[in-house]
């Protein structure tokens, strides 16, 4: 059945992930409740005993040096890490109160509800701008052209890209500039109306103007979405996020309000990292 009734992306109550479950959504303020999370890639213990809660409709930044486990942690939030051979995890992640890793949960549904934007913009090269935005909906079986057209325009508007591409919707997505391609990917991610957007260094390959546009977009989207962003840019974390988590050597060193973490960090390791002091 086509789902033509959900055009306006209003904040949605968190629906259960399991299709068979009929219970009401839990009245939780946390989009994610992560408890004692450990992740291994083969022998490598990438994430070690991480516990934290991510409040809904906030922007949470994850910072830390390369290899500290921040991207792995992010990917655990929509089960993307499962695509890596020899990966395994223990602990629990609850998404609006529901166990994300319960046996009856379909990872495909998880990834539709918890969208992801990657470091390198990756529009489908053979698809037009319009097709790139609606591909997720079409993969979910939606064929109603009017609905797809509306959702495409709406998503491009939310991604602050509509005015720049409205006359070129048939052109290939890869014909856009790097910054526009990244916003196209964000439009693609929000077209399926996820509740959460995970962003893995979404602006690291962009010039400063494109970066600012993406940051402004993140700020606008945070009204409707829970956003978790991995970034190497501490000024960016400081600018865009409400809360910041600092990871080091696979461990969560500090999770704090962003203004606190960048003004008065609780842990010396955090202070050393954000200040650029080693030894």
């Amino acid at each position: 059945m086509e789902r033509t009734q959900e055009i306006t992306p209003q904040p949605k109550p968190a629906a259960p992930l399991a299709a068979t479950e009929q219970s009401q959504p839990p009245a939780s303020r946390n989009a994610f409740e992560v408890a004692n999370l450990d992740v291994w890639y083969g022998q490598k213990h990438a994430v070690q005993d991480v516990t934290l809660n991510i409040p809904e409709r906030t922007i949470t930044a994850i910072i830390g040096p390369s290899g500290c486990g921040k991207s792995t942690f992010l990917r655990c939030l929509n089960r993307m890490h499962e695509l890596v051979p020899r990966s395994r995890m223990t602990g629990s992640i609850r998404f609006f109160g529901e166990d994300l890793y319960a046996a009856q949960i379909d990872p495909a549904v998880v990834r539709r509800r918890i969208g992801m934007v990657f470091q390198k913009s990756n529009p489908f090269p053979t698809m037009s701008i319009a097709e790139n935005v609606t591909v997720g909906l079409r993969l979910n079986g939606i064929r109603n052209r009017a609905f797809l057209r509306d959702r495409m325009e709406q998503s491009l508007r939310m991604a602050a890209l509509w005015d720049e591409v409205k006359d070129d919707l048939g052109k290939p997505g890869v014909s856009l500039s790097g910054g526009q391609q990244q916003r196209l990917c964000i439009a693609r991610a929000i077209a399926t109306q996820p509740e959460v957007l995970l962003m893995d260094e979404p602006a690291s390959a962009l010039d400063p103007i494109a970066t600012m546009k993406v940051e402004e977009l993140i700020h606008q989207l945070s009204r409707d979405y829970t956003i978790v962003i991995v970034t190497h840019n501490m000024q960016q974390a400081s600018r865009v996020s409400d809360k910041t988590a600092f990871f080091y050597l696979g461990k969560l060193v500090e999770f704090n309000d962003t203004d606190q973490l960048f003004t008065r960090p609780r842990e010396k390791q955090t202070e050393d990292y954000i200040s650029g002091r080693f030894g």
Binding site: F262, K268, Q269, I274
Partner: protein, 253 residues
């Protein structure tokens, strides 16, 4: 002062050091000028008055240098956390130090004028006030250099003592004016000097508040009766044990 653990960028440490060195130089000259301004009054030393007035130029230039260094540091390195607080505090401290030095110049000018008239014995009414101002200034600068939050917190409360002294001196000198109206000009100058000292105390209080913010990231301005009396009052469970913090696990460990 800020943590001296080595930064990845040597130029960052150098810029931070330059900022702090200029500020400490400025603080030192400011402290000396306050002492000199009262020295020229109590010792009736006109040369010292002229030196005090002339030395203010160097403090003015240092204020501009500290501001320039601070802005350059913010532009180039975007410091955060303790470093950010210390850069902001350094720029605010320099402004207050410059204004304290201006008060010293005002005192020196009044002293030079008084020294040209016959000695007025009541000049020693100012002695306790002078001692309190110099002690407050000395303490607040020590609190800054030694990251001593308790000492910094103790300073603002002493400003009230200074206000009371000013009030008392003004009353005593007003009485003297009625007794010796022929010296009313000199008494008025002494009242103005007391006022300059009281104003210096206000500025030292501002510095103390900025030092507390630099050390503990807590804003204690405009708290009235709620003003904390110690680091424990201010921070409670958040009270950072400086030694434990320094000894804490670092990224290199």
């Amino acid at each position: 002062m800020a943590d001296t653990t080595r930064h990845i960028l040597g130029s960052y440490d150098a810029a931070l050091s330059a900022l702090q060195n200029d500020l400490l130089m400025m603080a030192s000259l400011c402290e000396r000028n306050v002492r000199n301004s009262l020295g020229c009054l109590f010792n009736r030393d006109e040369d010292l008055c002229n030196v005090t007035i002339a030395d203010d130029e160097e403090i003015d230039q240092l204020e501009k240098q500290v501001d320039k260094n601070g802005i350059d540091l913010l532009r180039r390195f975007q410091p955060v956390a303790t470093d950010l607080r210390h850069v902001v505090a350094a720029m605010k401290l320099s402004g207050n130090l410059e204004r304290i030095a201006d008060q010293a110049v005002n005192i020196a000018r009044k002293a030079r004028k008084l020294n040209r008239a016959p000695l007025i014995p009541e000049v020693h009414f100012l002695d306790p006030m002078y001692r309190e101002v110099t002690a407050m200034l000395s303490d607040v600068l020590r609190a800054y250099t030694e990251n001593d939050i308790d000492l910094a917190i103790s300073v603002p409360a002493r400003d009230k003592t200074l206000d009371a002294m000013n009030h008392e001196i003004t009353e005593k000198l007003t009485v003297q004016m009625t007794k010796f109206p022929e010296r009313i000009t000199e008494y008025l100058d002494l009242i103005f000097i007391a006022r300059h000292l009281e104003r210096s105390g206000d500025l030292v209080k501002n510095i103390a508040e900025d030092v507390v913010f630099a050390i503990a990231a807590e804003d204690i301005r405009h708290m009235g009766a709620q003003r904390p009396g110690s680091a424990a009052d201010l921070l409670g469970d958040k009270n950072p044990d400086a030694e434990a913090w320094k000894a804490g696990e670092t990224l290199a460990s």
